[in-house]
């Protein structure tokens, strides 16, 4: 197309196409130059065909810019180019009319007029916002330089696009334990039989699904499969139980379904459908030894046995009364799903604990537990588990516990507890009562010999019946001797997610009976966290 022979409307079309195609971008500048440089003499169409003739035939004053097409007297809204002109004005201010406010759209235009129209358009285009030749060169250089990275990123993005997450709200964690365990050869407690002293290899796997329901609520579903047989059978006493023992024949079972919600800055709510426990919403103040996979190797060493009263279903609340004082209350029952028992007669445990924190690394807790038919904590002597020798079906127990933990150095913590229980059998003659006592002191040295390690010691007396109105064969049904629980373990963190914990337990006078041989238990627990 040759500008010089264009009619006014056709040059508008040209200008629009130039603008639309990015005439003002760097690469197109040369095209304009080419167009302008064309020699009209090669063009057979050069001869003026327009009846009115070229504008320069009768010189006129410079054209003037417009603000609306309607200002032009000879352009009507019905003209086919009306919209085109309007958009040129609005977007680029590129329309110029004659001083008499005519457009003379059917005329050919001169080079002067074309230049004038172009000039009218140019100042409106802010060239600084476009890339320069230099920028393009830099961009190309960067593209070349990062070609490999871009390919990698593109590959990754493609891979991502193919992955559909199962859930965007649920995060998965897990833990697997492999344990080699052995009991020293001696006699079982309360028995002439020898202990089951063969070395065993057993395992436990736990899968946690933590689902965020909003910002403040967490739903947890835990599956567990294990085959770690109970050492109470091998040794004859519950005092020898391991923290991580349990046997489901390696079948996965529902271990916990709970919901935890921060109601506000002060109050946290926790509800359990399966797998509840008082300690899950109460601060047990034995932080380093509390965990079964990473802490104490014994069940007794984990926490005050008082926290093991109560059932699996229920709820708890934690109130942060102020920066230092918190109150935990809760109620958990068991077997409430069975029509022959029901919620009303279900075994339960209710707790209220007041905790005072001197600092974040020192605190003391005072707890009260009320329980019904839920006294068996599987940590102490046989009599402490059942002080009424299986005769009572209505044991109410009031327990008071005090526990404290203190960080005495950066990497040394001492904790301890004492528990005192008064149990009453309401369905036996004279309502006999029994008194059960336990205590322990634990020492934890985290990061000893390497970050993530933990050396731990436990010295304590597992639950013991110190006094009992209930009599068997005319003698008070109480523990006459005192056995101690001594334990040491050393958790070594081999790698992120892998730790190995050798440890041993010594029970002097197991079952609080000096006729029993001491029991030795040794284990090497390997824990994988993922």
């Amino acid at each position: 197309m040759k500008y010089c022979s264009l009619s006014g409307q056709r040059w508008i079309a040209l200008l629009v196409s130039l603008v639309v195609n990015g005439v003002f971008a760097t690469e197109s500048k040369s095209q304009i130059q080419r167009v302008v440089a064309l020699d009209p003499s090669d063009d057979p169409m050069l001869a003026p065909t327009n009846e009115i003739g070229p504008l320069n035939a009768k010189p006129e004053p410079a054209m003037q810019r417009l603000t609306a097409v309607s200002e032009l007297t000879d352009v009507k809204p019905t003209d086919w180019a009306y919209q085109l002109l309007q958009s040129l004005i609005e977007r680029y201010g590129a329309i110029a009319g004659y001083p008499d406010l005519t457009f003379r759209g059917n005329r050919a235009m001169t080079r002067y007029e074309f230049a004038a129209a172009l000039v009218a358009a140019f100042p409106r285009v802010d060239l600084s916002s476009f890339a320069t030749q230099q920028d393009l060169a830099a961009l190309k250089k960067l593209t070349d330089e990062f070609a490999a990275e871009l390919a990698v990123v593109k590959g990754k993005l493609n891979a991502l696009e193919r992955i559909e997450p199962v859930s965007t709200t649920t995060k998965f964690t897990g833990e697997a334990i492999f344990a080699v365990t052995g009991v020293a050869e001696s006699r079982k407690a309360g028995d002439r039989d020898p202990t089951d002293s063969n070395l065993t290899l057993s395992s436990r796997a736990k899968l946690n699904f933590n689902s965020n329901l909003g910002n403040r609520t967490l739903l947890r579903t835990t599956l567990k499969a294990n085959n770690i047989s109970g050492l109470q059978n091998a040794t004859g006493t519950d005092m020898a139980r391991l923290s991580f023992q349990g046997d489901s024949d390696n079948l996965f079972e529902l271990d916990e379904v709970s919901i935890r919600s921060r109601l506000n800055r002060q109050v946290t709510f926790q509800g359990f459908a399966v797998g509840g426990s008082v300690n899950k919403f109460t601060e047990t103040l034995n932080p380093f030894l509390n965990s079964s996979g990473q802490g104490s190797i014994s069940r007794f060493g984990q926490r005050n046995p008082l926290y093991r009263q109560g059932g699996e279903v229920g709820l708890g609340f934690s109130f942060n009364l102020n920066r230092r004082v918190s109150l935990d209350v809760g109620y958990l029952f068991d077997r409430g799903n069975r029509p022959n028992i029901g919620i009303g007669k279900a075994p339960y445990g209710a707790i209220a604990q007041l905790t005072y924190e001197f600092s974040k690394t020192a605190g003391i807790g005072l707890s009260y537990v009320r329980s019904f038919n839920s006294l068996d904590t599987n940590t102490g002597s046989e009599r402490a588990n059942d002080p009424f020798n299986d005769r009572s079906n209505a044991i109410t127990a009031d327990s008071v516990g005090v526990q404290a933990a203190i960080g005495i150095a950066e990497n040394l913590a001492v904790a301890g507890w004492a528990g005192f229980t008064r149990a009453r059998a309401a369905d036996l003659p004279n309502d006999p009562t029994a008194t059960i006592v336990n205590w322990a002191v634990t020492v934890a040295a985290p990061n000893l010999g390497g970050e993530g390690n933990l050396l731990g010691f436990v010295v304590g007396q597992p639950p013991k019946v110190t006094a009992n109105d209930f009599q068997v064969w005319g003698r008070s049904f109480r523990d006459r001797d005192t056995g101690l629980h001594l334990e040491a373990f050393y958790r070594i963190r081999l790698h992120r997610g892998i730790s190995i914990t050798p440890g041993f337990i010594i029970l002097t006078h197991p079952d609080h009976n000096s006729n029993n041989d001491p029991v030795f238990v040794g284990t090497v627990r390997t824990t994988f966290s993922f």
């Binding site: 271990d255 426990s277 509390n290 079964s292 802490g295 974040k360 970050e451």
Partner: protein, 183 residues
């Protein structure tokens, strides 16, 4: 998985291979905004003691600050993004050094360290700023691990020097906290 890089010398080799930009000129826009040419990258995060409620834990964040970054590093911001608990970070015991967690190099002085417990954000400022071409490890100490187990996410943002530095978000570190109360 990213965290394996913590322990392998491959990472060190990879960084050494990043050749310095010959006549690198800092990226500064007309309005004064400064950018890293190649921003740092987060290699990963790890907790040493990962049980709920315990103290004496350290959280490590390791990042590569490439030689080609072109601008010194003035500020690092670590902000908690996920997790129900709100662990408080002790701003006074933060340490930064060159190298990885297991291969510690020399200490990097911190000019200012601030923890905002409302935004759960730790801000570290360096004066003099850190020069490019090194691996950096940040060690944080929570006053105590959170009481609620789960996966805690920490977003890391780095700022170059300049009056108007642009914050490059360089990645999310995962700190996993396991429940001590589950038997």
């Amino acid at each position: 998985m990213v965290y394996w890089k913590f322990f392998t010398p491959i990472t060190l080799a990879a960084v050494a291979l990043l050749t310095p930009q010959p006549n690198g000129t800092a990226i500064t826009l007309a309005d004064g905004t400064t950018y890293f040419l190649h921003p740092p990258r987060l290699l990963g995060a790890v907790a040493t003691q990962d049980g709920t409620n315990i103290w004496s834990a350290s959280y490590y964040f390791t990042l590569v600050f490439p030689e080609t970054a072109d601008e010194p590093l003035r500020t690092i911001v670590i902000a908690q993004q996920g997790g129900l608990g709100r662990p408080i970070i002790n701003a006074n015991t933060v340490q930064v050094y060159e190298g990885t967690r297991t291969r510690q190099g020399k200490d990097v002085p911190i000019a200012a360290s601030q923890f905002d417990s409302n935004a759960q954000t730790l801000t570290l400022t360096f004066d003099p700023p850190i020069q490019p071409g090194r691996i950096l490890t940040i060690r944080l100490n929570p006053v105590r691990n959170p009481a609620i187990a789960g996966t805690y996410l920490y977003g890391v943002t780095t700022f170059p020097v300049g009056t108007q530095p642009f914050g490059h978000f360089i990645g999310v570190g995962q700190i996993r906290i396991y429940d001590s109360n589950q038997d």
